[in-house]
Amino acid sequence: MHRFANPAEFNRLADRILPWSLAIMAGAFAAGLYLALFASPPDYQQGDSVRIMYVHVPAAWMAMFTYMVMAGASFTALVWRHPLADLAGKAAAPIGATFTALALVTGSLWGKPMWGTYWEWDGRMTSVLVLFFLYLGYMAVWQSMDDEAKAGRAASILALVGVANIPIIKFSVDWWNTLHQPASVMRMGGPTIDGTMLWPLLIMALAYKAYFVTVFLWRMKLEINRRKLSVLSQAEVYG
């Protein structure tokens, strides 16, 4: 892992991965969107509104996945002082916040025809909303401090405290109120969703994941270049 602490080494690795992730992202989005929006059947109860699900569910999965990436990066940053780890958290946070917002917006658009309301204080929606606030807090810490190294570590502490709290928040909010459907794909005993709908969903999930990898690597490279630039300009001023 510490081999990639060298930014040049990391950039080389990123450049090797990027063409692949870009290609997978483009292919999976093209196939997934076609299957989801045209080829898959409308639901017998939900009609065409079910197509929102293909955009919504992967966004919600990625919202949680990205927080886990952020938390893993924060842990690595605090424990091993890996120099690129806090940058990884910084790069992941806005992507995760966007996925979270997308999940909330699409969920609310789906809720209007299905539940008859844009917003319902249902357990899962509320916990995703709280997750969104946690992302905002993490990004706000990065912005609030001038010293990047300190900001990175403060943000990492916050991300880890957040991870300890996410299960508690999730549980408390579920306890508080529940209207959302129970999980139907990732559960014991196999998915309860039909294959004609499962495949488009999984392909869309792959597309989202490839999107994450691509944008994440772009943002990492951007952060590394930005840091190089600021070191160079400081060298010019003080050198």
């Binding site: 609030s144 300190k150 403060a154 405290v161 709290n165």
Partner: protein
């Protein structure tokens, strides 16, 4: 070894409690804020007793939470600015122990008085007669988590100028479980259901916060002191 540690802990505790109730301390201000903010709700939603009594527990809990938050934002900042935090960091207690003492002082000096006047506010808000005891019990069990989690936010923002707003952004999402179980307990009692489950969960949240709070606060303070 144990005796000096305890006396250091007690000294920090006593110092912070004195500061909270001296001039310019947070004790009286939090108390006044608590009173005024609850009254504002009555003006906001109107004086109908049914409406007020329906929202009484929620309003009292939310305002207690905000009063706690407002009084926490300078928990470490004053000591950080005048340098006493550097001294405290060198004490045999360690930063986590100092954080623990300061959190306990905050709870005893600022939060406990809030809890003691909640019966009066319950009266203002037409809280049902079955709710009083459980409201006080839920605040007693739940508010330590508010002080402990808030301390992490205060420590993270200690070096940030005007960190109060940032701290609210960091800490409020983490307050959600405490609020849910706290209000849940009172609502259960008002509906003639046992509040014990909610109170037990509230206690669990506080215990988790007790484990995380001082350690995370110490880590954040160490960062600011570097």
């Amino acid at each position: 070894m144990a005796a000096p540690l305890r006396s250091v802990f007690m000294a920090v505790l006593a110092r912070d409690m004195r500061l909270a109730w001296s001039q310019g301390g947070t004790g009286t201000m939090a108390l006044s804020f608590f009173l005024i903010a609850v009254t504002l709700f009555a003006f906001g939603v109107g004086p109908e007793p049914q409406v007020l009594s329906r929202i009484a527990a929620g309003v009292i809990w939310v305002v207690a939470l905000l009063a706690c938050l407002l009084s926490l934002d300078r928990l470490y900042q004053a000591d950080f600015e005048d340098g006493s935090l550097d001294d405290l960091a060198l004490s045999p207690l360690g930063l986590a122990g100092v954080a623990g003492a300061k959190i306990l002082a905050h709870w005893l000096a600022t939060v406990l008085p809030l809890i003691l006047i909640t019966p009066l506010l319950g009266l203002f808000m037409h809280l049902g007669a079955d709710g009083y005891l459980v409201l006080i019990a839920s605040l007693m069990i739940g508010t330590p988590a508010l002080s402990l989690i808030g301390s992490i936010g205060a420590a993270l923002t200690v070096s940030v100028r005007r960190g109060g707003v940032l701290m609210a952004l960091l800490v409020l999402p983490l307050y959600v479980p405490t609020l849910i179980f706290g209000v849940g307990a009172v609502d259960a009692a008002l509906n003639m259901v046992t509040p014990m489950e909610n109170l037990a969960l509230l206690g669990a949240v506080s215990l988790v916060a007790l484990v995380i709070g001082p350690i995370a606060s110490a880590a954040a303070l160490r960062l600011a002191l570097e």
